[in-house]
């Protein structure tokens, strides 16, 4: 299990290669990569609660490993200031079969979105740059997370 919180960019392919590590019992690899969307000049600043962010991602990762028969999994989440197109987050799940890998990856993202202590502040950029604004939490992220509660 790999859990990292870092300012630097990551090489998803290299991280997944490390995670697989030459094993030949992995039939399915599902990845989710979150990218920054935005127009030219826009910036996104990710604040996090150093210490708790890594601890909480580890808890979420352990919960996924407990719920599904996974070979392994990883979560990498960046903090700091990002530009459009930049990678924000990577989740990868390895399993013998695809159903488990897909379900665990969706679960990881849903829980991460509602539990990992990160906060996004956006500045739109462009010709009339406005004030930077904190992104508001979305009700459908809460709803997405809730669907996993019944499956314990």
């Amino acid at each position: 299990m790999i859990v990292k919180v870092q300012a630097e960019d990551f090489d998803a392919a290299a991280e997944i290669r490390t995670l697989i590590g030459g094993r030949t019992d992995v039939g399915a690899v599902v990845t989710f990569t979150g990218l920054m969307r935005g127009g030219e000049g826009a910036t996104l600043t990710l604040e996090h609660y150093a210490g708790m962010s890594e601890k909480e991602l580890t808890t979420i990762a352990e919960e996924a490993a407990h719920r599904w028969p996974l070979t392994d999994l990883l979560i990498i989440h960046r903090h700091g200031t990002l530009n459009p197109g930049d990678q924000i987050v990577l989740v990868a799940t390895l399993a013998a079969h695809r159903g488990d890998a897909f379900a665990a990856a969706e679960f990881l993202m849903d829980w991460l979105k509602t539990r990992a202590p990160f906060w996004k502040k956006e500045e739109a950029g462009g010709k009339t740059p406005g004030e930077a604004k904190w992104v508001e939490a979305r009700a459908d992220d809460e709803k997405a997370a809730e669907r996993w509660e019944e499956k314990e």
């Binding site: 993202m109 990992a116 906060w119 996004k120 904190w134």
Partner: protein, 83 residues
């Protein structure tokens, strides 16, 4: 008590971190939030919408009934928006 504030809670209070001594009658998270909100306008502005406030004690999410004491690290922040 070590207090940590994040995102707009931090900006409204005007600091990310402070150490305060609790009065004896403050023994739960809910009482702590009430006591902080009464410390001044900035605290009130940060903490008035209680449904938008999340609290972690020693890096674990807790509810308003959770006990607090002077040795704790208590973080106060808005709903998270990572991922």
């Amino acid at each position: 008590m070590q207090l940590l504030y994040f995102a707009w809670v931090r900006e409204r209070i005007g600091t990310g971190e402070e150490t305060l001594s609790l009065p004896g009658e403050v023994t739960t998270v809910g009482q702590l939030l009430d006591w902080l909100a009464a410390r001044g306008e900035q605290y009130a502005a940060a903490l008035d919408q209680r449904s938008h406030i999340r609290v972690a004690v020693n890096q674990t999410y807790v509810g308003t009934d959770h006990p607090v004491s002077d040795g704790d690290e208590v973080a106060i922040f808005p709903p998270v928006t990572g991922g």
